[in-house]
Symmetry: C2
Subunit: 248 residues, 2 copies
């Protein structure tokens, strides 16, 4: 598929030593894949990096410059391996400062369990924006953003709740999708696919072989923001592949 | 966790437009996470990129220079969106050539279903090595490698079979692991963790909050190649955290 889906783009940076080492499965990138698709945002890259400040800084800079929205997952607690805020401070040359508003939230919410150390979570870049999202999460901890980078926690249940509280900020037009199924192999239909790809630059066309499906060998997908362009490309493929396609 | 696990490192590059767009879940990176862990190889990065030759070239170059082993997934069939071999050719400045040995395999295996177009899969960089792995896969299609980059197909069942056929090439010493469980919050135990992290640089120590476990609040993990260093760090944590830990 070519990168011909116009509209906002996004990248996801998972700060995930525990994922790289196989201790836990990634749930957050997987969740964002589906959410961003539903919002009409074209996800263009996912990276999983270890708890290494240099690698996080570099990834944040590259992603912030290359995509409309960047979402980070993980590395925002009070322990030695929580480096995300510091890395974002370095990446944007925006020093960390203790934000009184966050300190109040921490002292208020932790009560008896409070440790001085927890206040590290109130240290955010000077340039940080605090975004209080939609209910039920609006009264609680805000999503912290610096430029186009939205900083989310790694614990999946909180990640999902925080993202849900701000998701409408990112909504773009829908992406229109169709799928066709070929009984012929990829080699057989490749030339036809290539021609249609060239004729419809605004439609992203993908082909995915399946070995274990009895009814077809290749799934062909069409995606685009212009519903009529997707339909025209689909018609062109149906006309030219004809009997090779499973009837829909 | 710090990057203090010595030994071979690896990176995984998923050429996965279909994963970014939410059409299929990643299975291959997830599989390699577990395999590499079992082999004693420290996975340090996962990237998922679209079918864009420039992005693949850049990722291959960076990963090949930065890690001992690189595994790519996807983009190796006969269609317009199969760009991996071409990208690797560019990345290593090693022109594509039709390899007679691969052409024979294709003509032999596809028989009646054969299309001229399928021969694209016989075009590999001049510098490519063909690795015929262990049975049951040894008599079939080889794994193709250029320098330290091993090129694997995207279809999960084939990906697993191909990787399994060469996996013993990558075996290193085992990684020794322990886990402790704290009833106290991360803020409470963070200073102790930091001190033990500093005392045992050869042990990678991670802490992972859990909100939904009734018996503990934080899982503490210890990993290292030196079993006695892991045990010493574990003893140090058990002594200093004492009653905060769930008894094992």
């Amino acid at each position: 598929m070519s990168s011909s889906l116009l509209g906002p783009t996004a990248a996801v940076l998972v700060i995930g030593e525990e994922i790289l080492s196989g201790k836990v499965d990634d749930e957050n990138a997987r969740y964002l894949v589906q959410e961003l698709r539903e919002l009409g945002v074209a996800l263009r890259r996912i990276e999983v990096v270890p708890d290494d400040i240099g690698e996080i800084v570099e990834a944040v800079r590259t992603m912030s410059a290359g995509y409309d929205h960047v979402f980070t997952s993980g590395g925002v607690g009070p322990t030695h391996d929580d480096l995300t805020m510091q890395a974002i401070s370095v990446a944007f040359e925006s020093p960390l400062e203790r934000r009184a508003e966050l300190e109040r939230l921490i002292r208020g919410s932790m009560a008896g369990d409070f440790q001085e150390r927890d206040l590290r979570m109130a240290d955010v870049p000077v340039a940080a924006r605090l975004i209080y999202g939609e209910p039920p999460d609006s009264a609680r901890w805000p999503v912290i953003a610096v430029n186009n980078v939205f900083i989310l926690p790694g614990v999946p249940s909180i990640f999902r709740r925080k993202f849900a509280s701000v998701r409408e900020l990112f909504r773009a037009g829908p992406i229109h999708s169709q799928a066709l199924y070929s009984r012929e192999s990829e080699g057989t239909i490749a030339a036809t696919l290539d021609a249609v790809v060239a004729e419809f630059p605004m439609v992203a066309i993908g082909s995915y072989p399946r070995l274990d499906a009895p009814e077809y060998k290749v799934k062909i997908t069409l995606d685009g923001r212009d519903a009529s362009a997707v339909e025209s490309a689909s018609v062109a493929l149906r006309e030219r592949l004809g009997a090779a396609l499973v009837r829909g």
